[in-house]
Each structure stands twice: as structure tokens, then as C-alpha cells.
């Protein structure tokens, strides 16, 4: 169990001490709780359970607006994520333009599959095929419109060379009773 405070702007610049790449990759197997980020952190504690980094994409093959999907940490649909290069800065984004983000594909309303629903024009995931909820991928997965009771869980991404790694998940994924 480890924990740190994180200034919002620092976080957005991806240079906060606790979640710097070095810290992330070097810290032991533990859970990061980023508890006092203004705005977001009031709403849901930025909970990051750390995993061994999993390579999920290669930078050179990512093109703006064309999402890729991956499973993490388990190889099942309850662990499905969409990773996308937004083309504009996103909260928690990585890469030169801080525009590479990844989110859980399970709608936090009732678990509807968001796979394949990315709208490049709006940088939004959704609408959920069940009840039409949409999520803003530039703003930590905030609900744009709809019914979800928490923001869409966001992946912690790291870049090493040309490789994009997922190292943890912020927020509770639909269906889970705890962090995965």
C-alpha cells in the first residue's frame, strides 16, 4: 500500500512525483491511492493498483482516432480496454502530446460493452448500446450524458521507447468488487 498526493496540474503534465514513469515502473507491487487531486479526486479516489507492466501498443503504429483494444490484467471481456490517440491533450494522457489514453470498455452504468464505440470527432466513448451513456476521454472518462454512477476507469499508461505499457487502473471496473 502506497499513497501520494497529486497536484492536478502536475498530473496533467504527467510529471507528478508519485506517478512519474520511474516511480511507476520501479515501485514494487502495490496499490497507489492518489487521494487529493482537486476536482477528480473529490469524486472518486484515483486508485491505481499496480501490475507488472503489459505492453499494449506500439507508438509508431498508433494513428489519431483509430483505437486499439486490449485485455488487462486478465484475458477476458471483463478486462477489456480501448486505447486511443485522441489528437488532443487528454487528462492522464501519455506521449509527446499527452493524447494517448485508455479506458475500460465496461460502461459504469450497467456494464454494457463500449467496444468499438469510440467517436473520433468528439473524443467520446459510447453511446453504450444498452442505455446510451457517453464518456469524455479527454476528462478522465467523465460522463458526458447518461446514467453511470462513476467515471469510466482509466488505464495508467507508460511509454518506453516505442512501446506503450499499461501499469495500472484508476477506478473500479464495472462488475468488480475491488481493484483488479
Amino acid at each position: 500500500m502506497d499513497e501520494c498526493n497529486l497536484d492536478k496540474n502536475e498530473h496533467l503534465n504527467n510529471s507528478a512525483p508519485c506517478v512519474s514513469r520511474r516511480n511507476f515502473l520501479l515501485a514494487g507491487a502495490s496499490t497507489f491511492v492518489l487521494s487529493t487531486m482537486p476536482g477528480m479526486a473529490h469524486a472518486f479516489k484515483l486508485i491505481v493498483k499496480e501490475h507488472s507492466p503489459l505492453r499494449v501498443a506500439s507508438l509508431s503504429q498508433l494513428t489519431e482516432g483509430n483505437p486499439v483494444e486490449f485485455m488487462f490484467p486478465l484475458d477476458n471481456p471483463m478486462s477489456s480496454f480501448t486505447l486511443v490517440k485522441l489528437g488532443e491533450r487528454g487528462a492522464g494522457g501519455v506521449g509527446k502530446d499527452q493524447d494517448i489514453v485508455a479506458f475500460s470498455n465496461l460502461c459504469t452504468h450497467m456494464g454494457g460493452p463500449l467496444n468499438g464505440s469510440y467517436k473520433a470527432k468528439h473524443k467520446v466513448l459510447g453511446p453504450c448500446p444498452l442505455h446510451l451513456t457517453t464518456f469524455d476521454l479527454t476528462r478522465h472518462g467523465m460522463v458526458v450524458s447518461g446514467h453511470a454512477t462513476q467515471t469510466l476507469p482509466q488505464a495508467r499508461l507508460e511509454i518506453m521507447g516505442d512501446d506503450v505499457y499499461i501499469t495500472g487502473v484508476m477506478g473500479l471496473i464495472y462488475g468488480q468488487a475491488g481493484l483488479i
Binding site: 499513497e3 501520494c4 496499490t31 491511492v33 487521494s35 473529490h42 487528454g90 478522465h140 460522463v143
Partner: protein
């Protein structure tokens, strides 16, 4: 490193262990009233994610639609008898009604965060009675607060009359509370100075064109919204404001092929999705619905697409009075009228509504054109405030007439109904004393007091406000706010020490010096009503803190269980009302608990739409308490009116249901009013009403935007409930989404004003029309408005007031004749009248029964709206003096200025020329409703909230423009 360690438990969800206590309830918020369960257990324990380890018997992770997943916003820690307990509050996954399978909105889904928890933003709940001393609220005891209130109430009632004692209250926050409060006002004090939260009056139906047609405005059940072939929705998007009616009833039906036509100035998500599935979006200019609906009706009858079989059987074939404004003399008369009436012409509809002729024709065709085999499509009609709070009488009359000629109104999937806003929580405790209200409009029956004007005119000396923001909730409210400030916290006489006698004496002096004393009863500090203005602030308890009941939008009654302590010394509203009533010496307030109030109220309201007297009789027969019977019924509850037939309690699915089969009544009180199977008129047939434009057109022309201005219309959105007191202000998850008030503006309108999303804008208007005066004994008030001064009015010293004021030459049983009174225009041959109905018809004998002859017998009438309910039998000369133009001529209109601020959201979801904002956020700068004109509907005296115009200009950038942490500017209608 943080010095605030986060508990390990917060990194995992707290699962309810096996065998925890479970309470059933329903959501506190919108009309839908979804069923919820509260799982409660002592702090320190937690369930396990295996079937044998938790109350859901679930193995985690659980799959989609399981209804067993718990997010962080569904958990809280509450006090139960002073001990800390966990609660998990989730939609009932097992329910087969309303929110089938545990579906929920974002509002109800996060309702656990509503509970009082001193370690959360709910910590500022009001906990103790307070009194304002030297401008600052200080704690006093309940005893002292009630003593002071009783003392000054007696003083003002005795000296200034009962109408100087006023109450402004929520109409919906549970039957036990509304019953006790209205019993106090109507049976105890017997004051006519009483109004509900959403209008300056509170009497008469909200959708009068519908009730005059004979249709109860909550006659449908939710299933009806899924049974139509074509659903016509006006003035609302259920996706945004009654989420689960959309999710569980409309959405699946659309996916099965139901087509939805929506009339709105905004293409919200539900509208966009309906359009995607083959529906039709009619992008209307605010306030022009009557013209659209009339034009559609004309197209239908011109093509012979009406449902003749239904019309022949179910429509009244004659009017009650000759020359009356609204009621048609049967279908033939309606057809003649609608095919010749200027304001049913397609060209005029196209010009004013901004909708193309093709779309208007297509809408009429979709609804009414018979299929090729001659069969008809089932059409239903649902509407809400965009329709009825812009042009109240005419819009509701027009949509009902359109629905009736399409064969809707009394069959499954063929209904005409409101969707609803808040839940149905009014259970009157007395009759509104209309004989004490001073106004009697020409030819018209008594009018209830307009409490805003009453206060502004200095007629109220004591006002008790319960659970409403009042000021921001009203139209053109700046004047009201300024006036209340001058009368209360801005008045010379202010208590200067915490001494009961001193406080009472000071308040009496204030009342004697044209001031007013105000009590506000609420659960939170509310700007400005109790933070700046009220003299005494009383802490109320609320949802989950008392066993309470009410009905949802399909008349479904549930028990809303108490499951936690209310904070401090706060008390349920019914108990506060009873304490005060007993101190005043009124009888009938000796209730021991909320169940006793519930049972008492049943017998007073046995013919009401939400009648449950059978439930109470059944309970008593079986030695049970009525609340406990309801508890047994859980989230399913029972639909009112509740009937006791063949030994069993039976709910009523829909009203006016020609397919309804009833059994043999068992109880003493047979619940079998004719309107269960027929329409709510004396004949059981519906009335077709002619919705004229003349009584509204002058106001619309005045209110429509001038150069550089935009329409400024208001409404609800999914994420927020009412004034945002729970969510927008105290739920961080929601507050980060909507940290401030906002204004949706079309990209072209934004561009010419240099406005981008995230900019802070000022919306202002300096020509807001407001109705003023009318309550003096001036000759004009007497003649134009029929004002009969009250004996209660201190400034009136005549002895026999009624005899002096009423000119018997001009009085009939129908009220005061306008001829020879007031403005000479009233008696001139009226070309407007001729335009509305140019054909001379032979005179007929009037029914001896005076007006309202087609309205049902009194036992079926709502106690609050009794005698104030209908415009049937009105003549144009009765209506005209109360139209905007006439009121202007008679000096009853003034122009005011107001403004508010908002964060711009540039979106093509809103029509060009129209802007949209949330209707009431006390946390914002300025009140959005303050731009809406305060000129009431001439017939129904209902406000026209949705019509405002203003200039919109950028005043800077908001902090959210470049933030990635708060507020989203993305399109909300991506489907």
C-alpha cells in the same frame, strides 16, 4: 506523501454481508420513482465476493445488467440510533415494475450520497432551529421557535386577518408532510394566502386544457409508453428528465419499431436516438406549440384521418354554453372550427414554429393516416413543461384535442398523459378557502391568491416557507427578492438579543410597520431564502429519515422507509406542522407517527386519483397498520386508486380505461368512480377544445427575441435534480460534471458573439414584463379584476365590503359580467372573437347549473382545486381582460431588468436563435428564471416559465475552459 492516509477498505467495495438488514424505498427524485433497496449493517464488517459471502449471493465479478455491482457512489456511512452503519443503496434488481431489473438514473444511482454523513459534503444539514439576531442566525430551542411563531401568528391573524398569514410549500415531498401542512393552512388557519413551490398560486389543474377535456393528467401507466405504434412527445425528452421511463419503456419499444415524434427546441440524446430509429424531430420555436398542434389537427380532419369510431363514441356532441371560447359543440363543430380558423393554417404554423410544412404534414400522417388495410396505428401523446409552461391553457387544450381525434385517451397504448416532473406527493388536508380570496375575474369564478404579488403588495405579514427556494423558482423573481428583503432582513425592526419576549415584540413592531416575518423550513442552507432572508429557520428531516409515502407518475404508491437518523434536532415536516398547530389550539393534529397521518389523510382524499382509502380499510380490518401493508408490497407497491375487490386489494393500471374490468367491492368505501372507465366529465365523454392563439399571441409577440437577442429557455437535465441541493452542490461526482450553471448556444449564434465553449457569458434583458398590483380596492381592481377586498385586509375599513363593492347589475351566478366595466374595449364588438369562431350559432338555453356543467360531481374534485378548476363555459369577454395586451392597457404590467451568468456550451443540439439553461441553480450567479416574464395565463393563472429572451455576451473565460478535470463540453446527443 500525504498525511491523510486512505483506509484500505476504500480501495475495495464494501459488499453487504449475508443477513444484513434490507429496507425498500423508492428514489427521492424524479417522477419515475424507481424502486431501491437499502442494505444496512454495522461499520466494521464487510461481505466477501463469493456467493456465500454477500447479501446478493453473487460471485464477483458480476456480469452486465446484474444489478449487483456497487460503485463507490452507492455506499455511505450513516447513524442508526447514534451508531455508525454502512449503507449500500442500489436499484432493486428483482423489481418487475418501473425500473425493471434494477435500471437506474445517475441521480438515483448515487442517492446513497444523499444520506447525512458529517464526514461528507452533507455536513451542513440544518440541525437546530435558529433565529436571526442582528442579522446572524443563532440557535434556539424548538419550544421557543414554536412559541414565537404561534405568538406572532395569533397577532397577525387577529389584527390583519387570516390572509395575512401565508404559506409557500413544496407540493410533492410526501403525503404525510403535505397533508399536515395543508391541514394547518386550510383547516387550522384557513388562509387563502397559500401557494406551492412551482407557481404563485396552487389551485386548479396544471394542465387545464387536458382536465377540461375530461382527462386526468396522470391517467397512463408506464407500460402505455411502450405499447403505441407512434408516440408523440412535446416539451420534454424523457431521457433527460425521467430517465427510466425512457430506458425501460420507450427505448425498448423504439427498438421494436415504435416511432417517436418529438417537439422540442433542443435535440437532446433521446430525441436524436428516436430520430435515428425512424422518428421525427420537430425543432420548434418556444411557445408556438398551439399553432403546430392546430395545424396538424387540421391536416388530419381535412384528410378524414380522424378515428371516427372513437370520436362518435367518446366525444361530447354539444357544448355546455353557447358562444363559449373553448368547448366545441361536438366533433363537427371542432372540424368546422379547425378547418376555418386562421391559427390552424399551415402557413402560419410554418412561419411561427420554424418547422417545415413537410415535417408538419409528415407528423400528422405518421400519427393518424390509416394503414393500407384500413386499420389504425396506435398513437399516444405525452408532454411536459416545455409545452404546458409556455402557453398553459391553449397548449394543453390543443394537444388533448389532437390526441382525441387520433383516438387516444382511454385504451392501452392509446393515451394522453403528462410524463411528470416531481413525484405526486400532495395529499390535501383541507379545502382551499376560495371564498376568502379577493379576486373574481370577470365572468369567471374565484381566483386563488397570487402569493408573489400578495407579498409584494404588502398583504402578507407572516410567511412560512417549506422546502422550496421560492425566489429563484419563480419567474421574474428579482422584484420579489428585493421586496422580500425589504420586508424582512432589510427592515428596520430586527431582533437584537436572543430573548423570546424581545423577539416577539420586535416582530410585532415589524408587522405593524409594513414588514413581514418569514419562517423557512428546509434540510439545508438555501441561498437566499434562509441564508439571508428568513427570520426563523427550522431544520427538517427528509427521505430515509422517516417512513413516508407518495405516488409516482403511474400512481404507484410505495413506502419510503426510514433507515437512518436525521441530523441533530431536525424533525419531519408533518411533526413540525403538528407542533405548531397544537400550540395554536387547532384540533386534529394529535398524530403519534407518520402512519397515523397517512391513515387519516386517506379518508379526506377518498375520491382522489391517488386514493388509498381501501388500503387503510383493509389494513384496519386485518389488524395491520397501513404503512406496514405498504412495506410488505416493497418496491412494487400498488397503483392508485387502490380498490378492495373480491376480498383482495387491487391496483388501477390506468384511468379512463375502457378495457378495465372490476370486481365486487369489499370495503365500506367502494372505489368505482365513473372516471376509472370513462372520461372525467359528467357524460363520461371527452370534450374537444378549441385552442385559440389570441389569448396568448400578443404575449408571444412581445416575448420573442428582438435583434441581437436569443430565446432563453430552461429545463432539466439528467444529472441534476431540482435546485441541485443534493447533487450539483453536494455530490462531488456530479459537481465536477456540472460545477456551474451553463448556457447552450448554437454555433452560429455563438460565432457572431465571439463565444466559445467554456467562456463565461452574461445573459440579460431589460424589458421583462411582470404583472403587478391588482390587490388594492381601487376602482380599476374592482372592475377589471373583480377584486373583492377582504375583511381581513387591514387597510380596508368599510363595513359591508361585499355589498359596497359588488355591483349587482353586473353579477350573475357565473361571476361578474365584464360589460360596462373597466376598459371599454371589453364590450366593443370584438373582431378577435369573430376571428376565433366566425360562425354565428343559434342561442340555446343555458344549463341552470351555471358553469362547469361538464365537470364531474364535487366528490371527485380535488379539495384544493374545487371550484377553481375549469374554463368550460367561459366567453371571450371573460378571457380578454386578462390577456397581456389588455393588462398592459390597464396598467397591470411593468418592465423589469435582470441578468444571470453561465458557462457557454456551444452546440448544435440547440436550435439557432434559441439558448438553453438549467431552470434553477441557487449556486449560480443570478437566477435563470428571472428573465422569464411574470404574466400568467389568462385562464389558468399558470406561469410561462419557458419564455424568455435576452442578450448574450461574453464576459471572460471560465476556469473550466482549459481544465481537464471539471465540466465537459462534449456534445450530449451522440447516438
Amino acid at each position: 506523501m500525504s498525511n491523510k492516509m486512505v483506509n484500505k477498505s476504500e480501495t475495495e467495495v464494501l459488499l453487504p454481508p449475508k443477513n444484513v438488514e434490507v429496507f425498500t424505498t423508492a428514489c427521492d427524485y424524479c417522477i419515475t420513482g424507481c424502486g431501491y433497496k437499502v442494505y444496512r449493517w454495522p461499520v466494521g464488517e464487510s461481505g466477501k465476493p463469493t456467493p456465500e459471502g454477500n447479501a446478493f449471493n453473487a460471485l464477483y465479478p458480476v456480469g452486465p445488467l446484474s444489478g449487483q455491482w456497487i460503485s463507490e457512489n452507492q455506499h455511505n456511512v450513516v447513524d442508526v440510533d447514534g451508531k455508525k452503519h454502512n449503507v449500500v443503496i442500489v436499484a432493486d434488481k428483482d423489481t418487475k415494475v418501473v425500473n425493471v431489473g434494477g435500471d437506474h438514473s445517475i441521480r438515483g444511482g448515487t442517492i446513497a450520497k444523499k444520506c447525512y454523513n458529517p464526514d461528507s459534503p452533507t455536513k451542513d444539514r440544518l440541525k437546530y432551529p435558529q433565529v436571526r439576531i442582528n442579522g446572524k442566525l443563532e440557535r434556539i430551542s424548538w419550544d421557543d421557535a414554536i412559541d414565537i411563531m404561534a405568538e406572532i401568528s395569533n397577532y397577525t391573524i387577529e389584527k390583519y386577518g387570516v390572509s395575512s398569514w401565508a404559506m409557500k410549500m413544496f407540493s410533492y415531498q410526501y403525503w404525510e408532510n403535505t397533508h399536515a401542512l395543508t391541514k394547518l393552512a386550510f383547516q387550522g388557519v384557513q388562509t387563502p394566502a397559500w401557494a406551492v413551490h412551482d407557481q404563485p398560486t396552487g389551485h386548479g389543474p396544471d394542465t387545464p386544457g387536458m382536465s377540461d377535456a375530461g382527462i386526468d393528467n396522470f391517467s397512463a401507466c408506464y407500460e402505455d409508453w411502450s405499447l403505441a405504434d407512434v408516440l408523440f412527445i412535446a416539451g420534454t425528452d424523457p431521457f433527460e428528465s425521467k430517465t427510466i421511463i425512457f430506458n425501460e419503456w420507450i427505448l425498448p419499444a423504439m427498438r421494436r419499431g415504435m416511432k417517436v415524434i418529438t417537439v422540442m427546441p433542443r435535440k437532446t440524446a433521446g430525441v436524436a436516438y428516436a430520430e435515428k430509429l425512424g422518428g421525427l424531430y420537430l425543432e420548434i420555436n418556444p411557445g408556438t406549440d398551439t399553432l403546430l398542434l392546430n395545424a396538424m389537427a387540421r391536416i388530419i380532419v381535412e384528410n378524414g384521418w380522424e378515428d371516427s369510431e372513437f370520436v362518435n363514441k367518446w366525444i361530447n356532441n354539444r357544448a355546455e354554453l353557447d358562444q363559449e371560447v373553448f368547448q366545441a359543440d361536438g366533433f363537427d363543430d371542432y372540424k368546422r372550427w379547425v378547418t376555418t380558423y386562421k391559427y390552424a393554417e399551415l402557413d402560419i404554423a410554418v412561419e411561427k414554429t420554424g418547422i417545415s410544412a413537410e415535417d408538419i404534414y409528415k407528423a400528422a400522417e405518421m400519427l393518424a393516416r390509416p394503414n393500407e388495410d384500413g386499420s389504425r396505428k396506435k398513437a399516444s401523446f405525452g408532454f411536459e413543461k416545455g409545452l404546458y409552461w409556455s402557453n398553459n391553457y391553449a397548449n394543453t387544450a390543443a394537444i388533448t384535442a389532437l390526441g382525441l381525434i387520433c383516438g387516444a385517451g382511454n385504451r392501452p397504448g392509446q393515451v394522453i398523459s403528462r410524463f411528470g416532473g416531481h413525484q405526486r406527493g400532495m395529499m390535501p388536508g383541507g379545502h382551499y378557502p376560495e371564498h376568502l380570496a379577493p379576486e373574481k375575474f370577470p365572468g369567471w369564478k374565484k381566483q386563488g391568491i397570487d402569493l408573489d404579488r400578495w407579498v409584494e403588495e404588502g398583504k402578507a405579514k407572516f410567511v412560512w416557507v417549506v422546502g422550496t427556494t421560492w425566489i429563484q423558482a419563480m419567474t421574474a423573481s428579482k422584484r420579489l427578492k428585493d421586496k422580500i428583503h425589504n420586508l424582512t432582513s432589510g427592515h428596520t425592526y430586527q431582533p437584537s438579543k436572543l430573548d423570546k419576549d424581545h423577539i416577539i415584540e420586535t416582530f410585532k413592531q415589524r408587522m405593524d410597520n409594513d414588514g413581514m416575518v418569514m419562517v423557512d423550513q428546509d434540510i439545508y442552507p438555501v441561498k437566499p431564502i434562509n441564508t439571508e432572508l428568513a427570520d426563523i429557520v427550522l431544520p427538517a428531516s427528509g427521505w430515509g429519515e422517516e417512513d413516508l409515502t407518495r405516488a409516482n407518475g403511474e400512481r404507484r404508491i410505495r413506502l419510503y422507509s426510514k433507515f437512518n437518523d436525521s441530523p441533530g434536532e431536525s424533525l419531519p415536516d408533518w411533526k413540525i406542522a403538528a407542533m405548531f398547530a397544537k400550540r395554536m389550539g387547532y384540533s386534529g393534529f394529535d398524530w403519534k407517527d407518520s402512519n397515523e397521518v397517512f391513515e387519516d389523510a386517506a379518508f379526506y382524499n377518498k375520491n382522489r386519483r391517488t386514493s388509498y382509502v381501501a388500503l387503510v380499510e383493509y389494513a384496519r380490518k386485518h389488524g395491520r397498520r397501513a404503512h406496514e401493508l405498504l412495506r410488505d408490497m416493497g418496491t412494487t407497491g400498488i397503483q392508485a386508486p387502490v380498490r378492495w375487490e373480491d376480498g383482495k386489494l387491487v391496483g388501477t393500471k390506468r384511468l379512463h380505461d375502457s378495457t378495465l374490468r372490476t370486481g365486487t367491492p369489499t370495503g365500506l368505501t367502494a372505489i368505482n368512480p365513473s372516471w376509472l372507465r370513462k372520461f372525467k366529465t359528467k357524460t363520461g365523454r371527452a370534450n374537444l377544445l378549441k385552442a385559440n392563439w389570441e389569448m396568448f399571441g400578443d404575449y408571444w409577440e412581445f416575448m420573442k427575441p428582438r435583434e441581437n437577442e436569443l430565446w432563453v429557455t430552461t429545463g432539466r437535465i439528467n444529472e441534476l435534480w431540482q435546485s441541485g441541493f443534493d447533487d450539483q452542490m453536494r455530490r462531488p461526482y456530479i459537481k465536477e460534471r456540472w460545477p456551474d450553471n451553463w448556457l447552450e448556444i448554437h454555433p452560429e449564434d455563438a460565432k457572431v458573439r465571439g463565444i466559445e465553449s467554456g467562456d463565461r457569458v452574461l445573459i440579460s434583458n431589460d424589458r421583462i414584463p411582470i404583472e403587478i398590483g391588482g390587490y388594492s380596492k381601487s376602482e380599476q381592481d374592482r372592475k377589471v379584476r373583480g377584486v373583492v377586498p377582504l375583511q381581513a385586509n387591514a387597510d380596508i375599513d368599510e363595513v359591508d365590503l361585499l355589498a359596497q363593492v359588488v355591483d349587482h347589475q353586473h353579477v350573475t351566478t357565473d361571476g361578474i359580467r365584464a360589460s360596462g366595466m373597466g376598459n371599454p374595449d371589453i364590450i366593443e364588438s370584438d373582431e378577435l372573437l369573430m376571428t376565433m369562431d366566425p360562425v354565428e350559432r343559434p342561442l340555446r338555453n343555458k344549463p341552470t347549473d351555471s358553469n362547469n356543467a361538464s365537470i364531474p360531481d364535487d366528490p371527485d374534485a380535488d379539495p384544493i382545486m374545487k371550484h377553481l378548476e375549469s374554463a368550460i363555459g367561459m366567453k371571450w369577454e371573460d378571457v380578454k381582460p386578462m390577456t397581456f395586451g389588455e393588462m398592459q392597457k390597464n396598467g397591470y404590467i411593468e418592465l423589469e431588468s435582470a441578468s444571470f451568468e453561465a458557462v457557454a456550451i456551444v452546440t448544435d443540439a440547440v436550435k439557432k436563435g434559441v439558448s438553453f439553461t438549467y431552470f434553477n441553480l441557487p449556486s449560480s450567479v443570478g437566477a435563470t428564471n428571472s428573465l422569464a416574464g411574470r404574466v400568467l395565463d389568462p385562464v389558468s393563472q399558470r406561469p410561462r416559465y419557458k419564455l424568455a429572451r435576452g442578450e448574450v455576451k461574453k464576459i471572460g473565460e471560465s476556469e473550466y475552459k482549459h481544465s481537464l478535470a471539471q465540466m465537459s463540453f462534449k456534445s450530449r446527443n451522440i447516438v
